[in-house]
């Protein structure tokens, strides 16, 4: 073995040793969550309070709900904090989660251009609105990324009696990206798009977009949090992760969530006490 190879091996071994000791000391957890909780600024508001109280650093990896659950399945996160109840229940049934805690809700809103080509603005009936968009072939941007919002959108099409996989035409654009990217695309092409209210309120590049449909109870959007099962992945920091979950559903955590506002408008409504949520 020449000297260079030996030096490189020593350097590699040393950096791994440093990585190992850093791992043993740091008081932090990885939370796989959704783009909506991060892009809306909620985490920026509540995590400093949690850190002040417990000293625990929460490292948020913001992904779509589908990807966040997969990150948990692989053992790459300690906690998942997402919004697609059927997918969360599947995650639990597969044994990857310990227990699901409802945390908060907000709602989805259907966003569209001011010109309103489908003629649905001001309606409270999301199902009729989607039917009108399809009938008129008005441009619609879909997340197409298995996120919670995408799953909610697919479900709404189903309720509207539209088999979107079969019935979609050139008006239906699946972009396979996050909420912000979908809003940017809709803004640039004057299309309709389903968004969570939090991301919409904090979104800055609105162009001609406005809320077209809101207030339908079928637009309800529930968030839940789960500890990744340490029996599947021994690397999960179960005590620190559970501390985070306990704080989120505690009165302190719930109040921190309720207090988060943009321009005086509340973004998320805590409902940890509603065990059926």
């Amino acid at each position: 073995m020449n000297m260079l190879t030996r030096r490189l091996l020593i350097a590699a071994a040393a950096s791994l040793a440093i990585a190992g000791s850093a791992l043993a000391q740091d008081k932090s957890i990885v939370v796989a969550s959704t783009t909506s909780t991060q892009d809306s600024g909620l985490f920026g508001h509540i995590l400093p309070m949690f850190k002040a109280k417990t000293g625990i650093d929460v490292k948020v990896v913001a992904q779509g709900t589908g990807q966040a659950l997969d990150t948990g399945r692989r053992g790459d996160a300690d906690v998942v904090f997402v919004h697609a109840k059927p997918a969360e229940e599947k995650f639990l049934a597969e044994g990857f989660g310990v227990k699901r805690y409802p945390v908060m809700y907000n709602d989805f809103v259907l966003i569209g251009p001011k010109s309103d080509p489908a003629g649905i603005k001001g309606s409270k009936d999301i199902v009729a609105a989607l039917g009108a968009i399809k009938a008129k072939g008005a441009d619609f941007v879909s997340r197409g990324d298995k996120s919670g919002t995408h799953q909610a959108e697919l479900n709404l099409w189903k309720v509207a009696g539209v088999d979107i996989a079969k019935d979609k035409g050139p008006w239906y654009k699946e972009i396979g990206q996050g909420m912000g990217a979908a809003l940017n695309t809709a803004s640039a092409s004057n299309a309709y798009v389903l968004a969570d209210r939090g991301t919409w309120l904090s979104f800055k590049n609105r162009g001609d977009l406005v809320i077209a449909v809101e207030g339908d109870k079928r637009l309800f959007n529930q968030y839940g949090v789960m500890l990744v099962n340490p029996e599947k992945h021994p690397s999960v920091k179960k005590d620190l992760g559970q501390q985070f979950i306990d704080w989120l559903v505690s009165s302190d955590g719930q109040k921190a969530i309720a207090d988060y506002k943009i321009n005086g408008e509340q973004l998320f409504y805590p409902n940890a006490s509603d065990s059926g949520a």
């Binding site: 020449n2 260079l4 490189l8 350097a11 950096s15 791994l16 990585a19 190992g20 791992l23 990885v30 783009t35 991060q38 892009d39 985490f43 920026g44 650093d57 490292k59 948020v60 990896v61 913001a62 399945r73 692989r74 053992g75 790459d76 990206q177 996050g178 909420m179 912000g180 990217a181 809003l183 940017n184 803004s187 904090s202 979104f203 800055k204 590049n205 609105r206 992945h233 690397s235």
Partner: protein, 230 residues
């Protein structure tokens, strides 16, 4: 980072979050270039000076690897470092170290391929002198790398340019975690997705300015070195 401020206000006001992001970008990309140079320069020099079966194929492959798609490298490193992957017990996913590994994989072929070309050209030029000096193969490699040291700066800069500019690999293996694995490029991607296009563009301009400054520094150092070496 307070989003209502423009990137230039952030720079002028010395925003600590912005400086942490710039610092992490530089630490990750410069570490990757250093590690890639430690591997790529000897490898490139060795290929330049050694005849072995399949050498032509190796050169083509090395040149092709300069175009490795960052998102594919990110995915491969992600799968390797994931807790469910072969190196999962290292616990490196979603850390700056994982980002350095991914960028090293991207940069090493660039440095190796450019080193190979530089050293081979020099070798053709000075073959007789070096043969007459009666150096062993390792001595030859060392002598040629030393002779080529100023030209190799360009190879390092090409590698640094690649590392500083890419977002596809580090956003996958780093996770773009606020205050921990967020770099200039992942912050730009995030601000774009939040619809704050002015801040995203501003951060882009800051990034380009930093890359230009580093290149200017490297160029000045090279000129000074050449003058000293006569």
């Amino acid at each position: 980072m307070p989003a209502e401020l423009s990137a230039f206000q952030l720079v002028l006001s010395g925003d600590p979050a912005l400086f942490a992001i710039v610092r992490l970008s530089l630490v990750v990309s410069l570490s990757a270039v250093l590690l890639a140079a430690l591997m790529g320069i000897p490898l490139g020099a060795w290929i330049a000076l050694t005849n072995f079966p399949g050498r032509q194929g190796a050169i083509v492959l090395l040149n092709a690897l300069m175009g490795l798609p960052p998102v594919v490298v990110g995915l491969a490193v992600y799968l390797a470092l994931s807790r469910s992957g072969p190196l999962g017990s290292w616990g490196l996913l979603f850390t700056p170290r994982a980002m350095i590994i991914a960028q090293t994989v991207l940069v090493a072929p660039i440095i190796a391929a450019l080193t190979r070309q530089t050293i081979e050209d020099l070798w053709l030029e000075y073959r007789d002198e070096l043969t007459a000096m009666n150096l062993g193969p390792l001595g030859r490699v060392a002598a040629l790398i030393w002779d080529a040291r100023f030209s190799l700066v360009t190879a390092l800069l090409a590698g640094f340019g690649r590392a500083a500019a890419e977002v596809g690999a580090i956003i996958i293996v780093g996770g773009n975690i606020d205050g921990f694995t967020r770099t200039m490029t992942t912050a730009i991607a995030l601000e774009t997705s939040k619809g704050d296009l002015p801040l995203a563009v501003g951060l882009g301009v800051v990034l380009i300015a930093i890359v230009i400054a580093i290149n200017a520094l490297a160029w000045t150092a090279r000129r000074a070195g050449e003058r000293l070496a006569g």
